[in-house]
């Protein structure tokens, strides 16, 4: 237990000590009861120890109501100092008496303990409770710092927001008329019409608001909140209406045709429009917005008092008044004044046919077109200019550049636009067999394609927003994880016919075997750089695809890192959204069961089930964040083979 080699210097005065301590890897040594112990364990290996014990920094002194402790004061002195008999400071002496042992208290110092800042040490806690401040000196600089800030360092971020109070209501109403018309004995038509009027969300706290660029440029200001920046209007302001949209008529049309008239084949076709009325959660954002849900970020906050540098101190709780303060960079989500509910048009054609006595096959075509789907667009993007960094995002926002005085009060403004569309087409085949011999078989195969814009179904909590503000097309692509080109499933249940009598019959009867086989092609995903390359303040940015050779598909390595490159500053990557495909999956589950009857209602059933019978590795999609050390690699998978045995008694 010998320290690593080190140099030793004794400081003659404070300036000398500060000069010596400028040496890299120099440490101040006072009593040494922590530092020398750590040096012996070689946890601390200072190149130079600067012995400061000769400096005139000892003593306990009362100046008015304030207590001044010299950092070189030992525990022993603190334990018996008469100045610490005052009730206000008695805890210091009591704490000092309990530190280490007699010999340690003879050498250990209060300043050394604080500088060492061992989380397990007692005195920092006592001094924190008493609101201690430190005077810190370096060559040419002196400052005062609260103990909490000295011990913990600078907080990397501090923010506080108002409670989230989503008080609101919506009314739903729907009506439907339909008529079935039997054209001929083997042709039926079904005609219907649904009316889904949309009654807009009402915020019970009058927090509905709306931002428009036109109003911002025209200098229109809220009359309800004097300090609001121009451009945003609130409930009660003239010129803002919370409108409902009523003419939502959804026609439905369907037919069923038995072309042969013998009941063994049917052809069905249908077309319909379906409205998707936004739910309350969709509008929940109003309460989080400036000024109601204002979140204030304090830069350079101190642990001791985070609001010390904020003019006026801690502003919370914020009270609603015409004079409410609007902080710089406030966040907004703005909905259309007259939201029109999204809808989808769906149609399908199917042919079902019975083959023989026990087989049925069908072929179907399904299509779905989504319209007026909500797209989140950043209305106040940061504008790129050479030299821009993510640190200057707030200063580069469009509205700040247009009008610095008013624009500085705006941060991100998510504008919800009802412009998104989606397309889904699928061809589906299915087969069913219900055999007399106890065999039941059901299978289906679907080939589908799904393409959509980047839809934001959760604007109230920010959700997904356009990567390239104003450009819906840039984010159009595959639907992602739900877009699986080929999906096939097959399930079989077989009831083993047993002979009725004899020992063999006892063993073999009442067994049932079942299996499910499921296969699908890979899911769609894309790569994200994890960095604001475009310097526009938006997340989810994609890289450039610099090679068509994107897949390795070797063991756990799925993507070629070299095929992707972060785009140049201020630009967007050319990789299409959700254009990559992950691992496919093939899985077999199996089950065996046997029932025993004891007469009456009593029954015992044994079941054995195996999931992932083949024990295949069901790989998840690879890590898709380009700035991750594991980029392109598969680091997780589904369950291995699981065997489950069960015994069930029914009575």
């Amino acid at each position: 237990v010998i320290p690593a080699p080190t140099s030793y210097a004794r400081a003659s005065d404070l300036d000398h000590a500060l000069e010596l301590l400028e040496e890299p890897d120099a440490k101040a040594l006072a009593g040494g009861q922590s530092l020398v112990a750590l040096m012996k364990l070689r946890i601390a290996r200072p190149a130079l120890v600067v012995d400061v014990s000769d400096l005139p920094l000892r003593g306990v002194e009362l100046r008015g109501d304030d207590l001044h402790l010299g950092p070189l004061t030992t525990w022993d002195v603190l334990a018996s100092a008469s100045e610490l008999r005052r009730p206000a400071f008695a805890a210091i002496a009591e704490c000092a008496r309990g530190i280490g042992d007699f010999q340690v208290r003879n050498r250990g110092t209060v300043g050394g303990s604080i500088a060492h800042a061992d989380p397990a040490s007692d005195m920092p806690a006592v001094l924190l409770a008493l609101g201690a401040r430190l005077t810190l000196r370096s060559s040419g600089n002196e400052r005062s710092l609260a103990l909490a800030d000295f011990l913990l360092g600078r907080p990397s971020a501090f923010n506080q927001a108002q409670p989230f109070t989503p008080f609101g209501h919506m009314n739903y109403f729907g009506s439907y008329v339909q008529d079935a018309w039997t054209v001929s004995p083997n042709l039926t038509l079904n005609v219907g019409l649904r009316w889904d009027p949309f009654f807009n969300y009402e915020n019970d706290l009058d927090r509905f608001n709306n931002f428009s660029l036109e109003r911002f440029r025209a200098g229109v200001r809220s009359t309800r909140f004097r300090n609001a920046p121009v451009g945003v209007l609130y409930d009660g302001d003239p010129g803002l209406e919370n409108k409902s949209y009523l003419p939502n008529f959804a026609p439905r049309l369907a037919m069923a045709w038995d072309p042969q008239g013998n009941g063994r084949m049917t052809v069905r076709a249908a077309w319909g429009r379906f409205f998707d009325l936004p739910h309350m959660q969709y509008f929940a954002g109003f309460d989080r917005l400036t000024p109601f849900g204002t979140q204030i970020d304090v830069t350079n906050a101190l642990f001791d008092d985070p609001w010390a540098n904020t003019p006026g101190g801690n502003p919370f709780p914020l009270r609603e008044s015409p004079d409410m303060v609007f902080p710089p960079g406030g966040g907004f989500v703005t909905f259309p004044e007259e939201p029109k509910p999204p809808y989808s048009d769906q149609w399908n054609v199917s042919v079902q046919r019975q083959l023989g006595a026990s087989w049925m096959v069908s072929a179907n075509y399904l299509a779905n077109r989504g319209n007026r789907l909500p797209v989140g667009d950043q209305l106040n993007p940061a504008i790129y200019s050479p030299g821009a960094t993510t640190a200057t995002t707030a200063a580069r926002r469009m509205l700040v550049l247009e009008n610095p005085v008013e624009g500085r009060l705006y941060g991100a403004i998510y504008g919800i636009k009802q412009v998104g569309t989606s397309e889904y087409d699928a061809l589906m085949f299915s087969i069913q067999h219900r055999g007399a011999g106890g065999l039941f078989l059901s299978g289906n195969y679907t080939m589908s394609d799904c393409v959509s814009d980047l839809i934001n179904y959760e604007p109230g909590i920010a959700g997904l927003n356009l990567t390239k503000p104003g450009d819906v097309a840039y984010d159009r692509g595959s639907c992602g994880t739900t877009d699986q080109r080929h999906v096939g499933n097959m399930s079989v249940v077989y009831q083993i016919p047993g002979s009725n009598g004899g020992g063999l019959g006892m063993l073999t009867r009442d067994w049932q075997v079942s299996a499910i086989v499921a296969a699908r092609s890979g899911r769609h995903f894309d790569v994200q750089t994890g960095v604001d390359n475009a310097l526009n303040g938006q997340s989810g940015q994609r890289p450039n695809k610099v090679s068509d050779d994107v897949y390795v598909k070797d063991g756990l390595r799925w993507l070629t890192p070299a095929a992707f490159a972060a785009p140049a500053p201020g630009t967007f990557g050319n990789l299409e959204r959700n254009s990559l495909v992950g691992p496919r999956r093939f899985n077999v589950d199996m089950g065996v069961s046997r029932s025993f009857r004891f007469g009456g209602k009593q029954q015992m059933q044994f079941r054995g089930e195996v999931f992932n019978l083949l024990n295949r590795a069901h790989y998840d999609d690879p890590v898709s964040s380009l700035n991750s050390g594991n980029f392109g690699q598969i680091i997780s998978a589904g369950d291995p083979r699981i065997i489950q045995l069960a015994l069930k008694y029914t009575f």
Partner: protein, 160 residues
């Protein structure tokens, strides 16, 4: 790079060549052959290495030798005068305050610091003062009795 440290040990000025990292206990034992100061745990727990540094009990395994430059160090060898044991030493002998004796130098020097501040400590104060000195054979009862007796002897000596 050897450095020279000059200090007063048991009343005599002594000079030892040490490294920056050399601990006081090693300077005393290896440099000055004062092996009455023991190394027990070597982690500042057991107190066997206790010496007086400017009259105060300290654990010499947790002090750099260079920190003692110009200081007065008293080790167990410095307590007795010629053949006469120090009253604290005598009290330990009389009251069976030791068995193997490994911890005794540290016990005695710690007691020395305590009694120099307060020659009439309570048993509780004695036990508090000896918290940093561990004994593995006799237990502490006779040690406490020895220190109590030493206090009485010192008071008598001073009174006379």
């Amino acid at each position: 790079v050897p450095e020279r440290v000059t200090l007063t040990v048991n009343g005599k000025t002594r000079t030892v060549d040490v490294e920056g990292r050399t601990l006081l206990v090693h300077a005393l034992r290896d440099g000055l052959a004062l092996t009455g100061t023991h190394v027990g745990c070597d982690t500042s727990q057991c107190g066997a290495c206790t010496v007086l540094l400017d009259g105060r009990a300290v654990k010499s395994c947790t002090v750099l030798a260079l920190q003692a430059e110009g200081a007065e160090v008293t080790t167990i060898e410095g307590l007795s005068q010629d053949d006469d044991l120090h009253p604290i030493q005598s009290a330990f002998v009389e009251h069976h305050g030791l068995q193997c004796g490994f911890c005794t130098p540290g016990m005695i020097l710690t007691a020395f610091d305590l009694l120099s501040r307060d020659p009439d400590p309570s048993d509780e104060e004695i036990r508090r003062a000896l918290r940093g000195n561990l004994c593995r054979c006799t237990g502490y009862q006779t040690v406490v009795e020895s220190v109590r007796a030493a206090g009485a002897a010192l008071r008598e000596e001073r009174g006379s």
